[in-house]
Symmetry: D3
Subunit: 143 residues, 6 copies
């Protein structure tokens, strides 16, 4: 086990990222999701949000990306097993998000050299309001 | 209730989308996730996959996007509440995916005019192998 | 003929899309058109428009894309035959466009199972000012 | 009138551009047009084209972009007035296109200092097959 | 030698380009550089810059791109040999840049038909403040 | 000084990145550089390279991006001061690059708390051939 192994209980604070209009538009095009609350300012201003919001899947994927930027996963990731995610608040254009990620669990699999690691995410905006809570289960090499 | 309302038990078959190398690279950049199995062909060829694979979150988000392209959600979407998703098989560069989506549940909320709708996804590749199974819970207008 | 066949005289109202700075910049790069009125704010502020405007071909292509989002064309499109388009007003950064599309004509071709369909577009901004008028001629499957 | 003024009868040969899968995917997302013949390799292989083709509007817009790359329009463009375009052949992934553009007409407008210039395009692929024929009418400064 | 050959001492003024938030975000993703001063508005506001700035390499690459848009290099470029570049001031979101480029040197190589050309760049913003000074050495065909 | 401070003599090996056609096309559009050797397969096949190559500035910027992915710079970067870079070999579509980066120098500035750090890059492809050699000078916080 290397000094750098992610162990149960460890907490990682990710870098932050500001979500811009272009991120929403590019994501919409990439995944083909043009739901009006993301793409139509006239519609969005008439909702309780008062403006366009980011796709929840964009924010979730960005939070996971920010975790990878800590440099603690890298070549040890074998594959994603599961996501269980709750969406509490919207991300507006210009919001800056980051995540506090706790290693909720690390357990060996039957196959030697492979562990299941569960990451518990709290995704927050620039006001430290929690916008998403989720768990990501990943198959990783046992180091 | 309009003729077009999504009712429990209804099944939707989405259009298909071919996932290219550019989709993976753009997604990686957009969400900041450069995990080697997605971005490094030398690394990926040495894994059991034998080549780069799409981020699971890209495929999941694309499946949701394909659902929106059926034209059955649109302005009725208020917000995403939860995702619970299992990832079974990888998507390789050049694979073509689509989803079979069942309306697993539709129930009113305490607030009149708002329903919770649960969509059960089976995401498949061009060989009809199931690559992901997931549930998306959305708050929608009761039509 | 399916219930869903587009018939002469039918009118479709597309979803709306807000055109952002990023849409203009990405389009410019994609098609290689860096005409100053689109890319150079210093130049554009000195024109009668008072700021950068979208490429006419971006707005036209977006209006066609919005038509496809109605879910009424899809797999029945065989190919684009002709575009005849007039550009009346500019689209500024932040404008929200949509189109009213009338099926101006549907006629069989000599080859059985193939129709020519003419779509007449009125493209409008968020003030309902008509910014473009055009006709798109498409070869489609006779359903 | 500068030495560089575009005069009726002049012929411009544009640079060439290879159209890749990413260009098609990015264009689809940007303008929101996911018609299956562009995005679904399974569908496209069953068509007479035998594979995905570029959106006609992407090729047309690219041909116009290639014209701007000759450096002969630039700050003299005031606005696009009209496009009249016929689509004869598809552009497949990997094709390289360019255009032969003839200044079909240059006439003054009633407003001094402004000319209407008509560009007649022949868009060709790497086999010199004509894929599109079109006319672009532009309002330009009289130099 | 054609009339159009770039000769030592000649000065080229490039077109201008406005750098938007989307350019910075897309560049960050493309090259995988998420340094906080570019991507994190909360962090950037606390720096002396008072906001996010463009990657120096984006501005440098854009200045080189603007030079190519003068239409004077094109098919004569064989390859880039060297860049020597100093970064003096930041480019903020919304700044408009251009370059004054002097042909500092043109010398034949031992291999006939090939010249080394040195371009000296002054990159300026919309206030004509010099933001970068650099030299680009390129191998070009002797025309 | 933290344990994590970059010291003169330290060597960092970056992750790898495969450069695809889409990376070249997006970079070309982003910086507006459509030099034929990058964008025109017909032209490029007739050069000694035998096909399209990546812009040298894309590869250089990607190498710098890969360095940031080691997680050793982050919030300590104040600004880029200089780049001095030699380009030895081309990067073809599909090549996988990485860099070996040596901290060539770290010296304090007159302003307390700020150091100048010089990073010496060797950029290599998947065959371990050196394609670029460069030095990047950065202003960083003294930790």
């Amino acid at each position: 086990m290397s000094m750098n192994t992610l162990e149960g209980g460890e907490v990682l604070i990710t870098p932050r990222r500001t979500v811009g209009e272009s991120d929403i538009n590019i994501f919409a095009g990439l995944v083909g999701d043009f739901t009006p609350v993301h793409m139509d300012e006239v519609f969005a201003q008439a909702t309780p949000f008062g403006g366009r919001i980011a796709h929840g899947t964009l924010t979730m994927s960005t939070a996971i990306g920010l975790l990878t930027q800590t440099g603690r996963l890298g070549e040890n990731v074998i594959g994603l097993l599961a996501l269980n995610w709750d969406f509490a608040k919207p991300v507006m254009i210009g919001d800056t998000i980051h995540a506090k990620v706790t290693i909720a669990e690390r357990r060996p699999t039957r196959k030697p050299g492979r562990d299941v690691v569960v990451f518990a995410f709290e995704v927050m905006n620039q006001k430290n309001a929690v916008i998403q809570l989720g768990r990501m289960t990943v198959l990783m090499r046992a180091e």
